[in-house]
């Protein structure tokens, strides 16, 4: 009995360490690549279930933990991140659009939020389904999706779109997604951050452990930006969360209201500080 106990006592810490390591290890697909499959929450840094991670008093939070952070807004650039390097003329248009965001925001009309804005939304989950030949990204917000072929070229007859055309390849353990073929109707990150059809987005998804994907994106648009705009965020795993439908146009009263408010002379433009 005694030797057994001794062996058990010696093994116990090893087992605990092994268990911890297994919990945080990066899951691998059958082809050896990191498996990004799962339901994720953008713009969050908290681990745990949806309920555990969204216990703050902010947007989408239950308020059970007053100190917990809020989910990220689709119209908001997180504080402390690098601001967009707009050319002076373009910056004026951003400000104008920001001041008119109630009517300029494409999502006020339930239109697709674009890339990368859709990925950064914290209020609604997204789902990644990975196969050896393509990656599918499903977004609850506005019910949009991206079907991303691996090791493929953008089509010759690409038509401009809100979400753009995406192709991907692996660079080591990082999935690199090249997105182009955008229309000029979506915003990048933050209210008013318009772009032109020249927009080129490069996204890098690196699953650093079981719970976290590092999301590093670079936006380039030589028509309006002075240089590439890098942005770093994280996607956090939300086990147990299922995507639900979000038929935004079901009962969208907002455009009609804005029109009436404008007609009635209600000034809803943000006052400059």
């Amino acid at each position: 009995m005694r030797p057994c106990l001794l062996v058990g006592a010696l093994l116990l810490p090893t087992l605990l360490v092994a268990q911890t390591a297994a919990k945080s290890a990066v899951p691998r697909a059958s082809d050896g690549k990191p498996d990004l499959t799962g339901v994720w929450q953008g713009g969050s840094t908290r681990r745990g279930s949806w309920e555990e991670a969204n216990s703050g008093a902010g947007v989408g939070g239950t308020g059970r933990d007053a100190n917990a952070p809020a989910a990220l807004a689709s119209t908001t650039r997180p504080p402390g991140r690098e601001p967009p390097p707009y050319k002076p003329e373009a910056a004026k248009k951003v400000l104008e659009s920001y001041n008119n965001r109630a009517v300029d925001d494409p999502t006020a009309f339930c239109l697709p939020p674009g890339t990368p804005r859709t990925t950064l939304v914290g209020l609604f989950p997204m789902q990644i389904i990975q196969t050896p030949k393509q990656i599918v990204m499903l977004y609850e917000y506005m019910n949009v999706f991206r079907v991303i072929p691996l090791n493929a070229k953008h089509p010759e007859d690409m038509e401009s779109s809100y979400m753009g055309d995406s192709v991907a390849h692996w660079e080591g353990d990082t999935l690199v997604v090249d997105v182009t073929g955008f229309n000029d109707k979506s915003w990048l990150i933050g209210a008013g951050t318009f772009h032109t059809e020249a927009l080129h987005v490069t996204e890098r998804y690196t699953r650093v452990d079981k719970d976290q994907i590092n999301y590093d994106v670079v936006m380039e648009d030589p028509n309006v930006l002075t240089k590439p705009w890098p942005f770093h965020s994280t996607l956090m795993l939300r086990e147990g969360t299922r995507l639900r439908e979000y038929p935004c146009a079901e009962n969208n009263l907002d455009p009609g209201r804005y029109e009436k408010l404008l007609k009635d002379g209600v000034n809803f433009r943000r006052q400059q500080q």
Binding site: G58, T76, A91, G192, E250, L261, R270
Partner: protein, 140 residues
């Protein structure tokens, strides 16, 4: 003392988180918070915003039917609400909200307090959808 209050109020406003489908500031006035009690007459579990209607007695005893806007169904579900269970016509509740800018019986709901004292958020904090406290660019 008053100075301290305004400082605290300012800090609170600056700290308010932001986001969502449309601009809070466009339709609602953060300077007009209101708390009302009444009887639920209708619940609209719809996108992009849910609504409920509340019969509220005014000072003269007349009943006014108020409309409150809130989260879409998916967010309500994830914050603890169940469709046709948590809130039903006939329920007596108290709601904290911010009034619409047009001055009608319409508001942006935040916290609902039920008959048994339980509380749930029906809508996000004030400032939601306002695009942040500062513009994304500086224009000189």
């Amino acid at each position: 003392m008053l100075k301290r209050f305004w400082l605290a109020a300012g800090l609170l406003l600056a700290a308010l988180p932001v986001l969502a489908h449309h601009s809070f500031g466009a339709e609602y006035d953060v300077n007009k918070p209101i708390t009302l009690s009444g009887v639920v007459t209708k619940v609209e579990w719809t996108n992009p915003h849910s609504h409920f209607y509340l019969d509220v007695k005014d000072a003269s005893g007349a009943v006014v039917n108020w409309k409150f806007e809130g989260y879409p169904p998916n967010v309500l579900y994830r914050t603890g609400w169940k469709k046709e269970v948590t809130l039903k016509p006939g329920d007596t509740i108290t709601v904290f909200a911010w009034r619409a800018r047009d001055g009608t019986a319409w508001a942006h709901s935040r916290e609902v307090t039920f008959h048994d004292g339980k509380k749930l958020f029906f809508g996000p904090p004030a400032g939601t959808g306002d695009g942040g406290e500062t513009p994304p660019v500086e224009v000189k």
